[in-house]
């Protein structure tokens, strides 16, 4: 994957240049909004992953508690509990993690681009 590079030249006209990163450093209201929105975005992402984890994995004990008959269900001779807990859960965790890393890096890239933009 190639890194996206922003190509910029020096400004043709002299203007009052103010980088958005300065707003964060100076702790202006605008800076506070930038920071909060970054935090909220990352936390929302984390909450989505954890919600999938709870629904798809952590719900299994409850399901087996409520429907004990599930223990006798077998797929291709292997009890479904063994298939889920012994094998399938690991690829699921990996896919969740991979999805999160991609999304989190995109959020950070967007934030970095936003900070490099210059208000005139």
């Amino acid at each position: 994957m190639t890194e996206r590079v922003r190509v910029t030249g020096p400004p043709r006209r002299r203007t009052t240049v103010r980088s958005r990163a300065r707003d964060i450093d100076a702790d202006t209201r605008l800076g506070g909004i930038y920071l909060r929105s970054l935090l909220r975005e990352q936390l929302r992402l984390a909450a989505q992953v954890l919600a999938v984890l709870v629904v798809s994995v952590a719900s299994w004990p409850l399901l087996f508690h409520l429907w004990p008959g599930l223990a006798d269900v077998a797929v291709g001779g292997v009890p479904v509990a063994w298939l889920l807990l012994g094998v399938l859960v690991y690829p699921l965790l990996l896919v969740l993690g991979w999805w999160y890393v991609r999304r989190a890096e995109r959020v950070e890239r967007d934030f970095a681009e936003l900070m490099q933009e210059v208000d005139r």
């Binding site: 970054l38 984890l53 001779g77 009890p79 690991y90 970095a112």
Partner: protein
């Protein structure tokens, strides 16, 4: 039963470990090398080292034995130990690296600007570290006795000595190579014998596959026995392992060795893949054990299942070689996990005890680290020699519960909640530590409670974690005047990507 393959395996693993440690020594020069390998370890090497460090005796020997004895509900242990990294990835990995601290107490002090919080954290790191080191040393004793018939005190002594030599010689830099090597050793040591065993099993017409499928329905319920109590035990185990991973001192210290926050995330993702691949194997051993060695479960020796299964299924020289291989893997498990814990505990002891100035005298960085390492290893070795039977799997499980009840709330709130105060943090750490600590003391003590009281003490995480979080939040809200003035600056440092030029304090 011949002990030759076991002895050869243990000697080889020990020598290789020392040799790689000595080779890594060439790269260790500065104090930063000792603590965090100068923060220049690439994600793949770092992830392999984390895997090597994390897969302890409990993973290598314990899981297969537990599965053999209790069945599918024990699969929650390896699942929790892996899912813990997913939780760590989404909530902690990148900010923790960006905090720029060496250890957990460093993080607490940087975030909350309080020496008192730091002191509480240091005590907890050393406590959790020792609680986790103890079963490693004891497991080493049991393995040596099972593999070569050595007296039970020899294992802790050998493992303690090798760990001490490696840690004091090269610190984090050389340990990184040692642990990366030991991940592959552990994986190979389970995978190769398993492939042979499966070929033999299939050649015999796959005996027992129907038994696993039909008769053993209780064995296939992913839930502890006892109705509501079983449900509680299973969920409490899930809470402890999912949330405890991020609070283990030897796991956290590895994140500081990443070059930046992005690398920390990628490292964690590779760790998820490596652990997932590894944990497929002990489950298979447990299932094969059900067919070939059910008597081990009945006689209460299920912990040696992985060590004895090859000899039971494949008699003759091939079986002996495979036995040697799994013994080597087991020994690597003790060495790597105890090395990582020793590093983490000595790092904290260096900063807060041996590296401090006492009057006029003050030890140099590396000397102080070496002295701290001696203390960090000696104490649990002595305890392991004095009380040789605490119960390997239990102590590890309790270490997770304590970590989940103390450092997990501190990390989560410290990273994501800007209104956390030092008083709130201390209150939460003390409540969580005392709550789970009482359960630990109760479980390790010789008497036992029955009914719900016993169940609640056996797996404290499901009540001690929410209690600690509530205390931390509640007390912080009651002391709004103590929110550190630099909180916002720290939040900028924790969450903004390094590429953006910002004042990070």
């Amino acid at each position: 039963m011949s002990s030759a393959p076991g002895i050869v395996a243990i000697v080889l693993v020990t020598l290789t470990t020392l040799a790689i440690g000595a080779w890594g020594l060439r790269f260790s020069r500065t104090t930063s090398d000792f603590f965090v390998a100068s923060r220049s370890v690439n994600p793949r090497l770092n992830a392999t080292a984390i895997g090597g460090e994390y897969l302890s005796a409990a993973s290598f020997l314990g899981v297969a034995g537990l599965v053999l004895t209790f069945g599918a509900d024990m699969l929650w242990y390896p699942i929790g130990w892996t899912a813990g990294y997913l939780v760590l990835l989404v909530l902690v990995a990148a900010p923790l690296r960006r905090s720029g601290a060496y250890t957990l107490p460093d993080f607490a002090e940087a975030r909350l600007g309080s020496r008192a919080v730091r002191a509480v954290c240091s005590v907890l790191v050393v406590g959790i570290g020792w609680l986790y080191l103890l079963p490693q040393f004891q497991g080493a004793g049991l393995t040596l006795r099972s593999a070569v018939g050595a007296p039970v005190w020899l294992g802790p002594l050998i493992v303690g000595l090798v760990v001490l030599m490696n840690v004091t010689a090269g610190g984090m830099r050389s340990i990184t190579f040692v642990q990366a090597f030991q991940y592959w050793l552990k994986l190979t040591a389970l995978l190769l014998p398993l492939m042979v065993l499966l070929v033999v099993w299939a050649g015999e017409g796959a005996p027992g596959s129907r038994v696993v499928g039909e008769v053993a329905s209780g064995w296939s319920v992913p839930l502890a026995d006892g109705g509501g109590q079983g449900l509680y035990l299973t969920y409490s185990l899930i809470v402890a392992t999912f949330l405890g991973t991020m609070g283990l001192p030897h796991v956290v210290v590895r994140f500081y060795t990443n070059p930046d926050g992005r690398a920390a995330r990628r490292t964690t993702l590779v760790v998820l893949a490596l652990l997932g691949a590894f944990y497929l194997l002990p489950t298979a051993y447990g299932a094969l054990g059900r067919v070939y060695a059910p008597e081990l479960a009945e006689s209460g020796r299920s912990d040696v299942l992985v060590l004895e299964l090859p000899r039971l299924i494949v008699p003759g020289p091939l079986g002996e070689v495979l036995t040697g291989l799994v013994t080597a893997g087991a020994f690597a498990a003790f060495l790597s996990t105890s090395s990582g814990l020793a590093i983490a505990v000595s790092g904290v002891l260096t900063q807060d005890v041996t590296g401090r100035a006492y009057g006029e005298r003050r030890l140099g960085g590396v000397t102080a680290f070496r002295l701290a390492a001696v203390v960090a290893v000696l104490v649990p070795v002595l305890v392991a020699l004095a009380i040789p039977n605490v119960g390997v799997a239990r102590a590890v499980g309790l270490a997770f519960a304590v970590a989940a009840s103390t450092f997990c709330p501190l990390l989560l709130l410290g990273i994501w909640w800007s209104r956390l105060t030092d008083v709130g943090a201390i209150a939460g750490l003390v409540v969580g530590g005392l709550g789970s600590g009482t359960a630990v003391a109760w479980t390790l003590a010789p008497y036992s409670a029955s009914g719900w009281a016993g169940v609640l003490l056996e797996q404290p995480a499901a009540w001690s974690v929410p209690l600690a979080v509530a205390t931390m939040v509640g007390v912080s809200l009651l002391t709004p005047g103590r929110v550190p003035a630099h909180t916002r600056r720290v939040m900028v440092r924790l969450h903004t990507p390094e590429a953006v030029e910002l004042d990070r304090g």
